[in-house]
């Protein structure tokens, strides 16, 4: 049975064109699907179990989608709620949904899919050899697993399908793969599996597969032999190039995409322009796997940071910034040892020279003398107090350290007071592994409620 999926945007919180959404709604989709997360902005969201996007922007966009859902009478699904898709960010999204339901006077059946993984489940799985590394993966042990503050498993189409089968109006899912929310309904209705996963991958970033990426809204039609994609913004077009190029995006292999239960192979896919706006894709293949595995994401605390910032504008110091910062580093390391009794194994202190090589470090290939140089000192220690104590200790030297012994003490530009800032915990990604499951629901919970 053909299935029409409306994808309003690549992620909730990034915005979409309201007129394009209205045009998409007028197309009469069978479901509205949107992604709510990603690891793209780093481990902080997962570490803290919080959303990176503003609550106000999220609520304003979700309101429009809830209104569209009510008008259409079709399910609305969001995956990876609140960026990281922990139980806490599903709860955050549920609270926003409750507020909107009250404000809009809607009565809604909601299914939540919970992806957070309790420690004892993971320890049992590790002991049973059901957690295996992808390439490259950090070494893990019972202790390193226990040190993770949050671990989520990425749900696939199976878990989203289960949630849809409850008859829910809205599905709020924890961490899912980028494609799972779009793939679930077409797979339930028996559309071509290769086309479904390929179309879901093309659709997962909304209009990024079109000539007007920021317009957001696209519609994908799935059937028993392929899929057709079209953008909803008036000035946007999908071309065979814009659609096929999306397989390159954030993908280490442009032809293969691993999902729970198998992989997509688009090596033999063909892309055909139906007209100026629509592209038809056929020939994609879904290859089921023997084992059912879900990817794990975990974050741990790697230390606590304090940063300090100074700017060099004096041409003499700018020209000799590297030599100066190397001397400064040796000097303050000795001071930290003398005053605090801390050696190199107790903390990290790194100075990055903004304007010289702060972005690329040792692999920078350009050498030029800039107008000014930003000196960013990053201190990482086992606790915040130690990191900040080091920051205070080095502050006067970052401000005044002379390049040579016989010159007057310089004073560099501090952009604010105090020059040092506490960054709190440094979170790190701790897992690049998969968890093998006997049944897809073994690591996920679905809860249904009417609000």
């Amino acid at each position: 049975m053909a299935t029409r999926v409306l994808v309003p945007s690549g992620v909730l919180g990034l915005g979409f064109d309201a007129q394009a959404l209205a045009r998409g709604v007028a197309m009469g989709p069978d479901i509205i699907c949107i992604d709510g997360g990603s690891t793209d902005s780093g481990p902080f969201s997962l570490g803290t179990g919080t959303s990176k996007y503003s609550r106000a922007a999220t609520k304003a966009e979700w309101r429009q989608l809830m209104v569209a859902r009510a008008a259409l009478g079709v399910p609305l699904v969001i995956g990876s709620c609140g960026t990281c898709g922990t139980d806490s960010t599903v709860e955050w999204m549920l609270k926003i949904t409750r507020e909107l339901a009250a404000e809009l006077g809607q009565t809604i059946k909601i299914a939540t899919v919970l992806s957070s993984q309790p420690g004892d489940r993971l320890q049992k799985a590790l002991a049973a050899g059901r957690i295996t590394p992808l390439q490259p993966a950090p070494e893990i042990s019972p202790a390193s697993l226990a040190a993770c503050v949050n671990v989520v498993a990425l749900a696939g189409a199976e878990q989203i399908s289960q949630a849809l089968e409850t008859g829910a109006d809205i599905v709020l899912a924890g961490r899912t793969t980028d494609t799972a929310t779009v793939a679930a309904l077409p797979l339930m209705r028996g559309d071509h599996a290769g086309a479904v996963w390929h179309g879901a991958k093309i659709a997962e970033c909304g209009a990024l597969c079109s000539t007007n990426p920021i317009s957001g809204v696209i519609v994908v039609d799935f059937d028993d032999s392929g899929f057709t994609v079209q953008p909803m913004a008036a000035d946007a077009r999908c071309t065979p190039h814009s659609v096929s190029a999306h397989m390159l995006y954030e993908n280490s292999d442009p032809f293969i995409l691993y999902e729970p239960g198998g992989h997509l192979d688009v090596t033999a896919a063909t892309y055909e322009a139906l007209d100026d706006c629509r592209v038809r894709v056929t020939g994609s293949r879904w290859v089921p796997s023997d084992r059912y595995t879900v990817k794990l994401e975990g974050a741990r605390i790697g230390g606590y940071q304090t940063t300090i910032m100074a700017v060099l504008r004096d041409a003499h110091y700018v020209a000799n910034a590297r030599a100066w910062v190397d001397k400064l580093h040796s000097f303050v390391s000795a001071e930290i040892d003398k005053s605090m009794g801390l050696g190199a194994e107790d903390y990290d202190l790194e100075f990055r020279l903004i304007g010289i090589d702060a972005t690329l470090g040792a692999i920078e290939t350009k050498r030029a003398v800039p107008t000014e140089v930003g000196v960013l000192g990053i201190i990482t220690a086992g606790d915040q107090e130690t990191a900040s104590e080091i920051g205070k200790l080095i502050n006067p030297f970052v401000l005044h350290y002379p390049l040579t012994a016989d010159e007057e003490l310089p004073t560099f530009a501090f952009p604010y007071s105090p020059a040092q800032s506490e960054r709190g915990a440094l979170y790190e990604f701790a897992l690049n592994h998969v968890l093998e499951l006997a049944s897809p629901m073994d690591a996920f919970d679905i809860r249904v409620q009417v609000i």
């Binding site: 690891t39 793209d40 902005s41 780093g42 481990p43 902080f44 992808l134 390439q135 490259p136 993966a137 950090p138 190039h241 096929s244 190029a245 390159l248 995006y249 954030e250 993908n251 280490s252 292999d253 442009p254 032809f255 790697g302 230390g303 940071q305 990290d348 790194e350 990055r352 702060a358 972005t359 690329l360 470090g361 040792a362 692999i363 290939t365 350009k366 990053i378 990482t380 440094l426 979170y427 790190e428 990604f429 690049n432």
Partner: protein, 101 residues
Amino acid sequence: MAKVADLVFKVRSKNAGPFWVTIDVFCGDATVFHEIAGALTSQIVAGLFAQPVETIKRFEIAALNVVKFSLPRPVVQGDRFDRDMHGAQWAVLLAEYEIAS
């Protein structure tokens, strides 16, 4: 000698998950594609990133006139020594690379 950026349509890089970075060289047309595909070897990319050549995955996608490289991130995303959270600035290493033309 010519910079890759002056020959091609666009060079971009981005994380492919927290543990990988991927670089796409959009050559624009078949002539430039063949030139770039011939000149930008895995050895060159490994050298630019100071990584072992066997870690570099390389794809030539003629239908899109794209040469693509993927490699494990030299530093895992968000690690204390990571300098570029999204890995998007690494593209300049290829864009500014000079090839004989």
